[in-house]
Symmetry: C3
Subunit: 160 residues, 3 copies
């Protein structure tokens, strides 16, 4: 791993977090390739190899639908969220003439603040990601969020 690639990877994680924390939902699908997947899975299911997820979006199109529903149709009490993400832990790198693919993990905590309320720990867990290089820089081929916080306070509306 050279510094430039590491720095790009950290930036991808940072840009993703900042978009999600700044209510710029329409930017969120842009972090994925067209066939990218986003899954949000409780740790219990993950550890036992069960496939059930709280949310499983299997293309960028499904993510765009999700953004529409967040912005236009889901009735919810708005809240701020704030991601604190650990340094990426790179588990494999594949680099050929045709493809550059990085597998990476990172612990995260999402803190939630409701208007006129205290900031609380909302959702914690780890990301398990496959990232590929595209003409537009690094993008997620898949992002799996495995969360410890199996008892969810209300609902998870915004992307983790």
């Amino acid at each position: 791993m050279d510094f430039n690639t590491y720095f790009e990877l950290v930036n991808l994680y940072n840009d993703y977090a900042m978009a999600c924390d700044s209510d710029r939902w329409e930017q969120w699908p842009e972090f994925f390739i067209e066939t990218g997947t986003y899954r949000l899975q409780p740790r219990e299911n993950y550890e036992q190899g069960f496939p059930l997820c709280l949310l499983a979006l299997e293309s960028k199109g499904m993510m765009e639908d999700r953004v529409y529903s967040v912005k236009e149709t889901l009735y919810h009490d708005p809240y701020y969220q704030r991601h604190i993400v650990g340094a990426p832990r790179i588990t494999s790198v594949e680099k050929t003439l045709d493809v550059e693919r990085i597998c990476s993990e990172a612990n995260y905590a999402v803190l939630r603040t409701k208007l006129d309320g205290e900031s609380t720990v909302y959702n914690v867990g780890f990301y398990r990601d496959v990232i590929v290089r595209t003409a537009a820089g690094l993008k997620f081929q898949s992002r799996l969020c495995v969360y410890d916080s199996e008892m969810i306070a209300n609902s998870i509306i915004y992307p983790i």
Copy 2:
């Protein structure tokens, strides 16, 4: 961005956090240039373009006054604080013969522990910084802390 500059920037963030978390308040103004500014602003005002801040210190001298008040005059129940800061997200770099200036952001969470109490989420948000190179290394020209935690538990006494 080369590794050395990135490493210096991460160190600036780390040293700042460690000084604030170790009650070494008198070191805090030293992270700023003489004309440096420190502002602590609720996210609601920031997002709507309103100027009002909880705290706006417009020179290093004002920061030194603040340190004096923290140490000598502000009546408060002492607490520990602990910063967990995400990786810096560099938004621009300007480098000429005369000046080197970095604009950077980072999410943060400050956890508070009162003596004989539990650790709780105290203040979360993001830093928006302008950093310049001086003869004594990187310093803040401005640090703006935009906080989600608009309902403040008691007061914010120590620097965020």
Copy 3:
């Protein structure tokens, strides 16, 4: 500090955190050299120079005993833990023909989730580490966890 060493150090921190957060306790002593030490000390004692620790393991053998007790003998209510660790703050590097030794610190927060419960702030503080290069890569010669969270919710069973 060159990028490769920094990257190795970040990986050591990440791998340690991920082992502790994934219930792979038997891996935990492997992050230390044979004569390595692990101590968990309240901040109050640390700051006043008192030696008393909540836990002081003075060899890798003692850590293996601790792992055995965590897995086999300590009666406790299981919980998930999740480490969010700041970037390492390197305080000294010593590099000779015979030895490579890094002193480093990092703020951490460990978030706990009990089954069917909410995620809460469990233990926050900072690591103060001495790390040495071995034939098997970087290892801890000593890891001291100084924790702000002096009032402990129940007990600390798993490694911080």
